[in-house]
Amino acid sequence: MRTLYRFHGGIHPEEHKLESSEAPARRAPLPKKLILPLHQHIGNGAKVAVQVGDKVLKGQMLASAQGMISAAIHAPTSGSVTAIAQHPVPHPSGLDGLCIHLESDGEDRWIERAALDFRAMPKPELLDRLRDAGIVGLGGATFPTHVKYGLPSGQRIDTLVINGAECEPWITTDDRLMREHADGIVRGIEVLRHLSGAGEVLVGIEDNKPQAITAMRAACAGSDIEVVAVPTLYPSGGEKQLIRILTGKEVPSGGRPTNIGVACNNVATAYAIHRFVDHGEPMISRLVTVTGNVRTPMNVEVLIGTPLTEVVECAEALPGTTGYILGGPMMGLEVDDLHLPAVKSTNCIIAKSAQLFPPPPPAMPCIRCTRCAQVCPADLQPQELHWFSKAKNFGKTQEYHLFDCIECGACAYVCPSHIPLVQYFRFAKSEIWQREHEQQAAEIARERHEFRMFRQEREKQEKAERLAQKEKAAQAAKPAVATPLPVAAAANADPDDTLQMRVDADIARANMQLRIDAAAARAKEQAAAAQPKNIDALTPQQQAEIAEIEARRAKLREIASDAGADDEPPKQI
């Protein structure tokens, strides 16, 4: 028996899992119209790879990954692209995001699919394939999976933790997935193990899911994957918390699990990897729990992009529904209206009613009872964080490790003053991010401004130098036309003025002609110099030529500077 460790704090909210966990998962009917936001993962949004009017097949890539941290988006069914336009997306701002609008043709025709032999493939290529299959973490953060395993050299992973804890109340997608597709999950875990090179693989499942534990143990029989039942305690499914429970290791503040040699992935992510590696299916669907104030709470397999109204219809919202929660009641997002598409992070829709979710009592001032600090799984001091966020003293919040807060809501759950603590923390975090962003922008602006001033100064100098040099060239070429240039002998930094003033028109014209010739020659020389970029493959002859030209230029420069410095009459070349 493995020794389990405890994380600090934790709470026991009402579970409400049985409502939806017992019925087998169903498949939602094929939607007529799908909306696919380009930004469904952490990092850069995907780059559109189709055009309006294009006919696409199920599983075809619609948008490709862009930049380091990003993932691709695929067509969840066959049909045609009707628009690439703004549409409301599930986001706390309630703002619109750019989405690909797809109209299904009802045929659900796949592109060609092929299984991958992942063991025969070099690791970087496999990671690229995962990126192009749009595989992101389904545990909630939607962090692109390939980024997690593209480790900097020197970092090793000893332990792979697979997260099946599913600690949020109401949500049962991972539970159902483990009961119904344990074999597929284990196949996906094998791919992750191959990627991470981990020696030890641990699957953590809360002990309120006995059937899931049994199913996973059966699927893992004969392999060295260990399925561990962990005590039910919210938030044991937090990445850092589960790692702590299973390995006793503490992820450092501001660090990632990979810093301590651990990688963590959700069971649903493992299953998605299995679908891709063994069946060639990119990430185009996921399980969603529909529960709360509905007739038949259940889990539904939903194509990404399905309007949430259609997802809820599967379970029939009952009268008295006052709104919806996307995600769980602890960390989810409250929305009034469901004209939003399902995205890769949509794991649950809870229909709210006044009985199930009575409106919270009004917030009262903090009485500094420190109950919040007792339950905080990140071992923070929420009462202090609240105090400083409220006062907008952001420097202090960072001193109190605001960024270690996982926004689990345990503190707000126990607060006797009903203070929406997490809202304060989110506010403070986004303010700090914005400030950092502005600071960076100011820094860049300062640099650019300073560089501009430096450039202007340099240009001024170069111009003066050029003028002096030009003058020298004119002087040098003078005897060839045999036109005396009496004044030019007094060449100085500002020869134009002196010439203009003292020389008669003839000489000036001749001089001008000389300059134009010199400029043309120089332009020719420059053009010749600008053309070859391939200076690394030169013949000895060319090199000799270059050396010769360089010598001539050096001589010219020397003459110019000599003359400039001493006001000597120009020498002949």
């Binding site: 703002l95 917030a363 929406p420 304060y424 303010e431 602006a445």
Partner: protein
Amino acid sequence: MISALWVMIGISLVLGAVLGYSAIRFKVEGNPLVEKIDAVLPQTQCGQCGYPGCKPYAEAIAKGEADINLCPPGGEEGIHKLAELLGVEFKPFGEGKGPRAKAVAFIDENTCIGCTLCLQACPVDAIVGAAKQMHTIVASECTGCELCVEPCPVDCISMQAIPEDISTWKWPYPVFAIAPVRNNPQKAEAS
């Protein structure tokens, strides 16, 4: 008593020597206050403060020649920071001198005649173009200082507000309606 006095005098002489030596040995080059003030200013380089850029304004503040409430791009936030840095009272913006909404310049590329005047005005080199070529603005580098608007002879530069989108959205400050305390009707009846 006398010996105590000697000890104190001795200590003060030694410390004085150390201080005097370190003042010479560790002399700070340049004016650190100007750098600190400049670090707080938004570096928009717009000249709205009446100085030809942020650094000159910082120098003027350091010399005590300028007020701390002259920089609109910095916002009230910036005045607070300056007040804190200099240990003076916060001072609100003068009438009608407050900050404007964030914007970036936009060149109507069909009207641009390629005169390069805006290019020379931009303090952060955010405009690309060449003589007689169409010019355009690198929006990510534009600080919104509006210095390029005025010089354009064909008035083809306009300032466009940056709309709030998901990437720039911020969580709002939590605001709650204060529920009035209602008398409990049962209690009211009983009393």
